[in-house]
Amino acid sequence: MWIGGYLVVSALIFSIGAAGVLVRRNPLVILLCLELMLNGANLALVAFARMWGGASGQIFALIVMVVAACEVTVGLGLIVAIHRRRLPIDVDELRELQG
């Protein structure tokens, strides 16, 4: 079982997620891509856990999943609030922090 494969896949997933964050303008999709990146990291973690025998990697991966869930919750709440205020759902338009 060559671990390199899993790690390469994890790197690819991470990069694709990063590209998605940079390219897309809809905050929902950006959050999705963020999830993608987290998943890539999860894969790497579990792969290493398998390689070294200890189960800490899996624990870590589970915790990451928990954190991702929380983050999605809050992020989606934000998007709902933005939508309620009738502001455009577009990260390029939401630039009050400019200057």
């Binding site: 990063a18 964050v21 940079l22 390219v23 303008r25 950006i30 990260v91 390029d92 939401l94 630039r95 009050e96 922090l97 400019q98 200057g99």
Partner: protein
């Protein structure tokens, strides 16, 4: 009460007076501040007398006391103490200063009535007396410098007393700036002396001077020349003299006190006090003597042609101080100090009488417009005459004995000093000329309109007060002279003061009659005992020969003045026409003002303008501060451009840096 305690009290009284008058500025009714100021100075004079008495209680060798009020600090080897030196010279000076000041205060009580700045005047005048006494009583160089500076300041505020007059404020500034040159000289001299003797205390420096400096050593000569600069600036000797005639813008009592009797004599006092140093560096003494001699002659020539009566007296002061400086520079210490005292008497008297005369002329000071006041103002005439005769040096007035004392000493010393002595006699001749020119023109001849109205009992009054120099119209509110004019015949305080001075001018000479008594010389002997030159006492016969020559010259001068200005009145215009170029030179005051303007004032102004336009505006405002400011702004603008507010750019930045860091680690691990 010891001598030093009473000396401190001498200092304290005018200071307290000045402060109290200043604090109660609006509360004093009428002339109260004037009487308070006068009383305070009189008290100071009383304490000075007490000091004298106490001092005389000691044997001649022991009459030197140093009293320290407190030690201020001891840093870098400089022992700064508030310290006075009570010895015959300083007691002599405080007696002269406080005595004459008291009389001038008395005079001012009446003269300055109706001036809106009356209280301010007396506060300033008291402060001046305090500073002068401090200067004279100083026991170390630091207090001397403090007193010197204060006196310069007091002179400034008193010259520009009528501060709304442009000419007065300009004159005040001129006096102050030239005095600052003297201050610089004094401070530099202190530095040089301190550098070699490591002390600022008088006695220590004088004692060390013999060991540390060789005869005519360059350092000491430099120090003494710098002291000479200080003395020349304060005493209005050439070339630092241009401020004194302009200083006549101040009220007449101020001219009497500061610019005749006291402040301008500070230079003479300085050289006399520093005589141990000048003894060791005779070159410097020679330079100052020559300076005094030149001043003597040049000032006398200018006084011959001046039209403003106060300026004539001012140049006369300059000339007489030239005598004194000449005297103390060559070793005639007691003679010089004696002349200082008698000069204070008769010059103050002359100024007071001139003030009375100017008041009668409703503020005009021009001799061209005066004439025939003899019948209208008899008292003033007598006082003026007494002062004039004393100045001229006619026996038995005090001026005769004192001036010729100096000249006799010069002759006695022989060598090159005889030339100085002859110059002194020439100056005496010119003194007689210009003094009696004044007297004959002002008091003799046809009475002018003002004189005639005064004979009938009406004091002349100008409808619109004007500036006597430029003729500009003024008012009589604060900052300008008051509406009333006071003459001696009508105001008692003025009469009393002038009478006292007239008596002193007449009989003051008895203190030092050659062959009879030498009280001043003996009194001052302890101070000057360490000087080799003081032992050279001219023989009595030499003295009397000198006195006789002096008297003869004086009478000759009076006679010629009589001829020119009284007997044949066209002589003066004829002479003026015959000697037109010389006359022009004298009237333009030997072009000193123009020379200083060209050499110093204009380059400095140009430098200032250059500094403003280039240094200030371009380098500092636009370059340094503007440059820093725009650099910061540019930096901030550059940084601000990264805060676009676009989320994706921030994320892109993060990814980019992640890539860069990973690349770095990749590369560095190979």
């Amino acid at each position: 009460m010891s001598a030093t305690t009473s000396a401190w009290l001498v200092l304290l009284c005018p200071l307290v007076g000045s402060v109290v008058i200043a604090l109660g500025f609006r509360r004093f009714p009428g002339r109260a501040s004037g009487w308070l100021g006068t009383a305070v100075i009189t008290l100071s004079f009383a304490f000075a007398v007490v000091t004298l008495v106490k001092l005389l209680g000691y044997g001649p060798a022991h009459r030197q006391f140093v009293s320290t009020l407190w030690k201020y600090d001891f840093t870098a080897g400089v022992d700064a103490k508030v310290q006075i030196l009570v010895d015959p010279l300083s007691v002599f000076m405080i007696l002269a200063v406080s005595g004459v000041s008291a009389l001038i205060h008395l005079y001012s009580v009446a003269y300055m009535t109706s001036d809106r700045g009356y209280t301010r005047y007396f506060s300033y005048l008291n402060f001046f007396v305090f500073s002068m006494l401090l200067l004279v009583l100083a026991g170390n160089f630091i207090i001397l410098i403090v007193g010197w500076a204060f006196v310069g300041f007091a002179s400034y505020v008193l010259i520009s007393f009528w501060y709304r007059r442009r000419t007065a404020t300009r004159a005040g500034i001129k006096a102050f700036v030239i005095n600052v040159v003297g201050d610089v000289g004094l401070v530099l001299a202190t530095f040089v002396l301190f550098q070699h003797t490591h002390s600022v205390d008088y006695l220590k420096v004088f004692h060390a001077a013999h060991h540390v400096f060789g005869h005519n050593s360059p350092a000491l000569v430099v120090a003494c020349l710098l002291l000479g600069v200080a003395a020349f600036a304060k005493s209005a000797q050439i070339p630092l003299h241009t401020w004194l005639p302009d200083a006549m813008e101040g009220p007449t009592p101020v001219s009497a006190l500061i610019h005749a009797a006291t402040m301008v004599t500070a230079g003479v006092y300085l050289i006399a006090r520093m005589h141990p140093l000048f003894d060791q560096a005779p070159t410097a003494g020679d330079v100052t003597a020559i300076g005094g001699c030149l001043t003597l002659l040049i000032a006398a020539t200018i006084a011959l042609v001046m039209v403003d009566i106060k300026r004539v007296i001012a140049y006369s002061t300059m000339s007489q101080i030239g005598y004194m400086i000449m005297g103390v520079s060559v070793g005639a210490y007691s003679a010089g100090m004696f002349h200082l005292m008698t000069h204070a008497f008769f010059k103050a008297l002359l100024f007071m009488a001139a003030g009375s005369l100017i008041s009668a002329m409703a503020g005009s000071q021009s001799l061209d417009r005066m004439g025939g006041f003899r019948k209208a103002m008899p008292f003033t005439f007598v006082c003026f005459l007494v002062g004039g005769l004393a100045l001229t040096g006619l026996p038995p007035f005090s001026g005769w004995l004192s001036k010729d004392d100096i000249l006799a000493f010069l002759d006695h010393r022989g060598g090159g000093f005889i030339a100085l002595g002859i110059a002194g006699y020439v100056g005496a001749f010119m003194t007689a000329l210009y003094t009696f020119r004044m007297i004959f023109r002002a008091f003799f001849g046809e009475p002018v309109r003002e004189a005639r109205s005064l004979e009938e009992g009406h004091l002349a009054h100008a409808d619109v007060p004007t500036n006597p120099a430029t003729g500009e119209e003024e008012d009589t509110d604060v900052g300008f002279p008051g509406p009333e004019h006071h003459i001696a015949e009508r105001d008692m305080p003025m009469k009393v003061a002038m009478a006292a001075l007239a008596v002193l001018a007449l009989i003051g000479g008895v203190l030092q009659i050659p062959g009879v008594d030498r009280s001043i010389e003996r009194f001052l002997e302890p101070t000057f005992a360490d000087s080799v030159l003081s032992r050279e006492v001219p023989s009595t016969s030499t003295d009397w020969v000198g006195l006789a020559i002096g008297a003869a010259i004086a009478i000759l001068g009076i006679a010629i003045a009589y001829r020119i200005w009284f007997a044949a009145p066209d002589t003066a215009p004829n002479l003026r026409r015959r000697f037109a170029p010389i006359y022009t030179l004298f009237v333009n005051k030997w072009y000193f003002d123009e020379l200083i303007d060209l050499l110093i004032v204009r380059p400095t102004l140009m430098l200032g303008r250059l500094g403003d336009s280039v240094l200030e505006r371009i380098v500092v405002a636009r370059g340094v501060t503007g440059g820093t400011e725009s650099a910061v702004r540019a930096g901030s603008a550059a940084v601000r451009r990264s805060q676009t507010g676009f989320l994706r750019y921030y994320a892109a930045g993060m990814v980019l840096f992640l890539a860069a860091v990973t690349l770095y680690f990749l590369v560095s691990s190979t």
